[in-house]
């Protein structure tokens, strides 16, 4: 196993000529994409455009068909590399939260710290408490996931990812499964994270969030990156026909 150390002089995420097929269905058709360190990149596009698949390739939950994916300068498609170690540096938040239903909130936050980062239980619990406070749920430490609202569950999921002290966070449509009135709390937590300088890749349908928080917006359609740039340019003055068409439907 090579133990390549994370580097700070390269992009946090750099994807080159990425292809991904499910059977005969080519979902990603040669993607070039990067996220700089400390940057917040929002990926938008119609469903089926491949934006979630791209995000899931970044920590190899999906196996790329071809292409390279560098995370902090480490090629994660290299079989000699310790994928589990790299994953502890990439936090991920899912559309469906995916909290562990058999464990209470604190144990959801400490499990991977203890099992993957080999932290002592007491240290892990201290870090868990700090991150729970960060998402405003310090009073839910002993609750079980089923006792929480969707918005609370998603904030716990964010706290769980943060407890690994990741260098970057991936968000896969984090508010799409939430009731409309619960979306705001989750977006507020994400805004605070961005303000604190976290590197973030956010697949989202929340155009308001992309405009306000994103440093860059990437529009994908049909498995390719169609257009990208500053939020006010892509969202306010799109250059491509497909971008205009998509935005006219969602805005």
């Amino acid at each position: 196993m090579s133990e390549a150390a994370p580097r700070t002089d390269v992009p946090a995420i750099e994807v080159r000529n990425l292809h991904k097929s499910f059977g005969d269905n080519e979902v990603l058709k040669g993607i070039d994409f990067h996220v700089d360190q400390g940057e917040v990149v929002c990926v938008i596009g119609p469903s089926g455009s491949g934006k979630s698949t791209l995000l899931r390739c970044v920590n190899r939950l999906e196996e790329p068909t071809s292409g390279t994916i560098m995370v902090e300068g480490v090629d994660i498609t290299d079989d000699e590399m310790d994928l589990d170690k790299v994953r502890t540096r990439i936090g991920m938040v899912f559309q469906q939260f995916n909290l562990f239903p058999h464990l209470n909130v604190t144990r959801n936050l400490t499990l991977a710290q203890i099992r993957a980062k080999k932290r002592k239980k007491a240290d892990a619990e201290e870090i868990a408490a700090r991150n729970l406070a960060k998402v405003g749920l310090e009073d839910k430490a002993t609750a079980f996931p089923t006792q929480l609202s969707g918005g609370q569950q998603q904030r716990v999921a964010i706290a769980r990812a943060l407890s690994m002290d990741p260098d970057m966070m991936l968000f896969d449509e984090p508010t799409s499964a939430l009731d409309p009135e619960l979306v705001g709390d989750v977006l507020d937590v994400m805004k605070q994270l961005a303000k604190d300088g976290m590197t973030m890749m956010v697949v989202t349908h929340e155009m308001g969030f992309a405009r306000e928080v994103g440093d860059r917006v990437v529009f994908m359609d049909g498995g390719v990156v169609v257009e990208q740039g500053k939020p006010e340019d892509v969202l306010g003055n799109p250059q491509h026909e497909r971008t205009k068409e998509f935005l006219s439907k969602v805005l």
Binding site: R87, T88, L99, L111, R115, K117, T146
Partner: protein, 265 residues
């Protein structure tokens, strides 16, 4: 022609007819039964007294002990088989499938017979613990085949997002299985596993075929031996009652456990 009956009246009449039918059936059975023969053959107090205390201190104790050993063994072996069946390595999957299909397809009685008599002849190897040990190995092997399928179904019922969440946090496949998948899988399969346990309690009665030493006898073997020596079937009725005393609280306990576990779903 009479006016049509109201629907509620019709329903009441139907129900009344069903009750009458039931009572008639019970009456016929009671009338046909030879009560004196039943009392002297199945409820002979002198024979019943004779059965104590060994029916508790030896027979019932052994039934519980054998069930516990076979269930724990079956769970461990079944878990290994389930993991083999889900393994990405093809020969493991083949081996597990062959094992499961073989031992689910054979009568437990034959497998017990095989381990007690055929294996010692074929391999010159006697399982430890005499006939009881041989029978227990057979019970573990048979129950593990059923339990393996149950556990596999439980593992497959855990949503894939659970594995993705654990792996995305950097947890290795083994820890993901142990701390995330298996606890949820076992909660899902608690009811069918209880079923396996209750079946196993009753399957210990098949051990008689192995020919048990006196102190090793479980409820059924003990009762059968007593039936031959006393020429009376009362010990079988006692054994039946004791089986119920063992199984009924168990199913109640698991129903309670299930309720408790719902919290963590």
């Amino acid at each position: 022609m009479a006016p049509p009956l109201k629907r509620s009246t019709r329903r009441r009449l139907t129900r009344g007819a069903l009750y009458v039918l039931f009572i008639l059936a019970v009456a016929v059975v009671v009338w046909l039964a030879d009560w004196e023969a039943i009392r002297s053959n199945f409820f002979d107090l002198d024979v019943a007294v004779e059965a104590f205390p060994e029916i508790l201190t030896v027979a019932a104790k052994n039934t519980v002990l054998y069930t516990a050993i076979a269930f724990v063994g079956g769970l461990l072996l079944g878990l290994i088989l389930a993991l083999m069946k889900l393994s990405p390595i093809l020969p493991y999957r083949w081996a597990a499938t062959a094992y499961i299909e073989l031992f689910r397809g054979l009568p437990a009685l034959l497998v017990i017979f095989g381990f007690a008599f055929a294996v010692p002849i074929a391999f010159g190897w006697r399982p430890p613990g005499g006939s009881a040990g041989a029978g227990l190995i057979a019970l573990i092997i048979v129950s593990s085949a059923y339990i393996a399928e149950t556990i596999r179904a439980g593992i497959e019922a855990v949503p894939p997002g659970q594995v993705e969440a654990a792996r995305s946090l950097g947890m290795r496949p083994s820890w993901t299985m142990i701390s995330v998948v298996l606890p949820q899988a076992f909660r899902i399969v608690t009811p069918p596993l209880t079923n396996e346990l209750v079946i196993l309690i009753k399957d210990t009665s098949l051990l008689f075929i192995a020919g048990m030493a006196l102190g090793d006898r479980e409820l059924t073997t003990f009762a059968r031996d007593m039936v031959s020596s006393s020429a009376n079937a009362t010990p079988l009725v006692l054994a039946a009652l004791l089986y119920l005393i063992i199984t009924l609280p168990l199913t109640q306990l698991v129903a309670k456990l299930e309720k408790h576990n719902k919290r963590g779903r």
